[in-house]
């Protein structure tokens, strides 16, 4: 799939992370004894993007679009099928184990489920200090307790909470603990995988605010994976919309939300329920037909064509390139992209 550099409006030097044509196919095998590959689930199928220091890139899309697989591959929790990802100039997928160790310090992750991502047998203080055990150079043994207590205060908990255990905290507080742990090693990039979707509405806002404060203070960049488009708009500088393992549109948040050109982005945005009853009967709504096809057997040409109201013969034949079609600096992968 052709790619083009889509530099953000502001020039901020070299990107912190540059992903080029990332592909992750999970093989499907057949046969009990003589296993042979019968196909592949194309979870990620040629994804390219860049992230600059201190910025937030949102990855949005519905379940199965590959957004979490992108994140897992970048953390080398999955081996990519092909593609490159340069972190500060070095390809993540070619790193030696020593370089990997350093990478794991610089990229951290915050998970969706604050109930299963914290060890129930460890005190909160030890959970936060654990990264320092793995990376002993960062904070000396003597300082660890104080630093952990500082971090707890920083994320809005009490310093004395370091003696308590995860189950003694509510979901929102546990997510704060997860954020404190992710900050322990002063990372450059934090991958947040649905960090607020398990939380109550009234608690969600607290964690969103905290993530923004922390970003300002520590200058960390985020990859923010979420399905809630309003949350993504709130927190992200740039947004990539994914469908069936590919990016269909990417750009500044204002461009994506106010001038979407890909029919899928347009449908996705119009499907979000608006918390304002005024004019609900007059609202123009695109309700997509059908469901997302299986990534094991994706359609030819444009992946979205089976649900697209604009689809024509060309769409079944030619894969649309992700290119800037209107000179707005925001590329869109649709043969018939248009502003609405």
């Amino acid at each position: 799939m052709a790619t083009e550099s889509h530099a953000p409006a502001k020039n901020r030097g070299e990107p912190l992370l540059r992903v080029e044509n990332l592909v992750k196919h999970f093989p499907l095998t057949e046969g009990l004894f003589f296993r042979r590959q019968a196909g592949a689930v194309k979870a990620v199928d040629g994804v390219s993007f860049e992230i600059y220091r201190g910025e937030t890139l949102g990855l949005v899309g519905e379940s199965g679009c590959g957004k979490s697989t992108v994140a897992r591959t970048l953390l080398r929790l999955e081996k990519p099928t092909s593609g490159r990802a340069y972190f500060d100039g070095t390809d993540i997928f070619e790193m030696s184990s020593r370089q990997m160790r350093e990478l794991r310090r610089r990229i951290q992750m915050v998970f969706q489920d604050p109930f299963s991502s914290l060890n129930p047998r460890m005190s909160v203080g030890s959970i936060i200090a654990e990264p320092w055990v793995v990376h002993p150079g960062v904070v000396t043994k003597q300082e660890r307790r104080e630093r952990a207590r500082d971090l707890l205060k920083r994320v809005g908990l009490n310093a004395d909470d370091d003696q308590r255990y995860a189950h003694q905290f509510s979901g929102g507080q546990r997510q704060r603990i997860g954020i404190a742990r992710s900050l322990a090693l002063n990372p450059d990039l934090i991958v947040c995988d649905e960090p607020v979707s398990a939380l109550d509405v009234s608690v969600q806002a607290q964690v969103i605010n905290l993530l923004e404060e922390v970003q300002e203070e520590f200058g960390v960049a985020y990859i923010f994976i979420a399905h809630d488009l309003a949350v993504v708009r709130h927190i992200c500088d740039r947004v990539a919309v994914m469908y069936l393992g590919r990016i269909v549109e990417i750009g500044d948040q204002a461009e994506i939300y106010e001038r979407p050109t890909h029919p899928y982005t347009q449908a996705l945005l119009s499907a979000v329920p608006v918390p304002d009853p005024r004019g609900r009967d007059k609202r123009q709504r695109i309700v997509l037909e059908g469901e997302v096809p299986s990534p094991a057997n994706p359609p030819s040409g444009c992946l979205f064509r089976t649900r697209c109201w604009k689809a024509q013969d060309k769409c079944a034949r030619d894969v649309p390139d992700l290119v800037d079609r209107f000179g707005h600096g925001h590329p869109s992968a649709c043969h018939f992209a248009e502003l609405r």
């Binding site: 519905e62 379940s63 509510s170 979901g171 929102g172 507080q173 109550d200 509405v201 009234s202 608690v203 969600q204 806002a205 607290q206 969103i208 605010n209 923004e212 399905h227 488009l229 309003a230 949350v231 708009r233 709130h234 927190i235 948040q253 204002a254 939300y257 449908a267 996705l268 945005l269 499907a271 979000v272 329920p273 608006v274 918390p275 304002d276 009853p277 005024r278 609900r280 709504r285 309700v287 997509l288 059908g290 469901e291 997302v292």
Partner: protein
């Protein structure tokens, strides 16, 4: 239907959990009422009590009444109750896949409604099941009727559940977080289907959800629930445009908007109370910007703010004026 002063508690080994603490509402013919609340607010339990599907023990409806066309459902025996549950009042759930029996085909399960309640023959019932599947827009219904639940996607399984719910032409459909587990484009499809069916059949809808957006799309009236109580009720426009309880105000202010990239969100401090440990007085007082001494000691009664509109805040007049 009229629910008055409903109380539900769970008697567990760690103590009594008061899940629903005296809620009252009415549902008119064809009306869509939303019960909006966060986890642990008791919104689902209140619906299960109305349906009569609370497992007992540990759950008990300790007082109150649920009048459906004049009859108090809570006073009926199991057999009488079953004639209402399903045929007259039906319910759908968040996890549609789990609500279906994995061992039987989807067509068989829908047809069962007609066999059991109408005594239809297998052939008649199957034909009606396929018809229903077409009505909820399941593609190639005659073939898919022979599939098992695991062969259905989340959205399609929810359609099957909706088909079963409307099979016997109920007056009321209770939908408990019907789209929460679904992707946004599928959520839009299911909500559209529910609205369509409601317009077609004139059935009443009780929608239980935490999603302020979904409520704003479909509800005629809203009840906002917190710690087992309705903190305010009113028409969708009243509640969304001039909330009369600080909790509602807080909720409205704390959600990010799709139309703008915001700065800091206005948060509600703290977290919703766990049902075993509900604060005295007004249960919202530890998180409330207006809380005073009286709020810590006196439980605010639900008072009529204007015709058909109620608030359970001592200082609702202040809230209405804006603060």
């Amino acid at each position: 239907m009229e629910v008055s002063d409903l109380y539900v508690e769970f008697r567990t080994s760690v103590g009594v959990v008061e899940a629903v603490n005296g809620i009252s509402y009415t549902l008119d013919e064809g009306e869509a009422l939303a019960i909006l609340g966060e986890s642990g607010s008791g919104k689902s339990v209140s619906a299960e009590a109305v349906m009569g599907i609370i497992e007992s023990p540990p759950g008990f409806v300790t007082s109150g009444s649920v009048r459906y066309r004049g009859t108090d459902l809570l006073k009926l025996n199991d057999r009488e109750r079953r004639k209402i549950r399903g045929p007259r009042i039906a319910m759908i759930f968040q996890d549609a896949q789990a609500a279906l029996d994995p061992a039987f085909t989807v067509g068989y399960q829908i047809a069962e409604m007609f066999r059991v309640h109408h005594g239809d023959s297998r052939r008649e019932a199957n034909a009606k099941a396929v018809e229903l599947m077409e009505r909820v827009h399941i593609p190639s219904a005659p073939e898919r009727a022979n599939d098992y639940p695991h062969q259905f996607s989340g959205g399609m399984a929810q359609r099957v559940l909706i088909a079963m719910a409307i099979a016997l032409g109920p007056d009321i459909l209770i939908a408990d977080e019907p789209t929460t587990a679904l992707d946004v484009t599928i959520q839009a499809q299911v909500m559209k289907l529910l609205a369509e069916l409601q317009a077609e059949t004139g059935m009443g809808l009780i929608l239980i959800t935490h999603d302020l957006g979904v409520v704003a799309e479909v509800a005629d009236r809203v009840a906002v629930m917190y710690a087992g109580k309705f903190v305010e009720t009113g028409t969708i426009y009243e509640v969304y445009e001039t909330p009369s309880h600080p909790y509602t105000v807080g909720l409205m202010n704390s959600i990010p908007q799709l139309e703008q990239k915001g700065g800091k969100l206005n948060i509600i401090p703290g977290a919703p109370p766990v049902p075993t440990d509900i604060p005295p007085g007004c249960p919202f007082h530890p998180r409330c910007p207006l809380a005073r001494e009286r709020c810590v000691t006196d439980i605010p009664p639900s008072r009529e703010v204007s015709s058909g509109r109620r608030s359970a805040c001592h200082y609702y007049e202040e809230v209405l004026r804006g603060y």
